[in-house]
Symmetry: C2
Amino acid sequence: MKVLIVHAHPEPKSFTAALRDQAVTTLEDQGHEVQVSDLYAMNWNPVASADDFSSRENPEYLVYALEQRLGVKSQSLAPDIQQELDKLLWADLLILNFPIFWFSAPAMLKGWIDRVLVSGVCYGGKRFYDQGGLSGKKALVSVTLGGREHMFGDGAIHGPLEDMLRPILRGTLAYVGFDVLEPFVAWHVPYISDEARKEFLLGYQQRLQHLSDEQPMVFPRLSQFDEALYPLPV
Amino acid sequence: MKVLIVHAHPEPKSFTAALRDQAVTTLEDQGHEVQVSDLYAMNWNPVASADDFSSRENPEYLVYALEQRLGVKSQSLAPDIQQELDKLLWADLLILNFPIFWFSAPAMLKGWIDRVLVSGVCYGGKRFYDQGGLSGKKALVSVTLGGREHMFGDGAIHGPLEDMLRPILRGTLAYVGFDVLEPFVAWHVPYISDEARKEFLLGYQQRLQHLSDEQPMVFPRLSQFDEALYPLPV
């Protein structure tokens, strides 16, 4: 398996980075090929803008997704985007590895999503959800957060974490066709003992060793909807 | 009323910018004071990093929220953050005005959230949700998107838009104490007629003229939870 880990944390010695390293070691030990995009180390530019295209279909008015479609065809995507897109298309498994900032991804990683998941390749027209451009690939979100586990779930103060992560799990990864695995979550990280952190690393290792046994999360399939995307009778 | 509009769109002539201008005009005509943070025009830096603090509590290891707390006390926040924080604290109403990118905010705006909603002022300890640091203020999200209205809602292909916007509406705005109003949504914007766009602008104007009549969305209150944040019996 070919694996791309996209990692975004402002502290190079963070526990989130330890999860990244655990994934690299575990997956390579199993014979997989691994590439890492460490967005802070790369000084990644997260801002989608007109500068992302060396030539434009419409230089007067920017419709970002339209220019992405042209940019793919005419090879006019910015080199940093093209490089990440190539890694993404190479990979069989994408891991997004990040600390939860405001119940979602840090801007650094959001800007990787905004710029790299280009229209015309990853989605477009009726190619989304199970018909998405990246179908056949798997995705795993591995996150660290400050909250305790009992603060999440039905009836808990923040509700289910999966509901907070919905724009990423469903609106992004499932949308472009990935088989999305249950997130790996390390809770309460800034406040726990080294021993508890080691437990998380061990748990993550064990999950990574058996990913192929996992069933992906369930999301809409286009066959459940008509041509205009109204739901069909069940 | 004092109003801060935070606007993020890569195209200066976008319809999203027209919504921003509509809000400025309408609110000023009603006698309100309005400031606009146009993040692309400001060349806003969306990346939370160690550079955000001119002095550090722990120069060896970055815990971003901890450094924010110190930074507020010691006035060592980066000037661009302090400036936005001052505007935020000045405002009675915050409007986040943006195009939906991946069912959430563009990275540019996510980075405003990551950097400006500083711990120690906007939240911290047990100061969140109705006890949040910005309680007493109102917030409105006004968004444009490509999807059609029938693609959102219960049973629709993407589910309710409010569920996709949960990390912003609940996890961010309600979390720091805002009374969060129902989002204003302009659907299918890239594909509609000028007439239909004018309808959206008019509808937005009418909403803005009567915001004080609106009831905010309902979110958890800390009084529903015990000291350890387990839910209390209803």
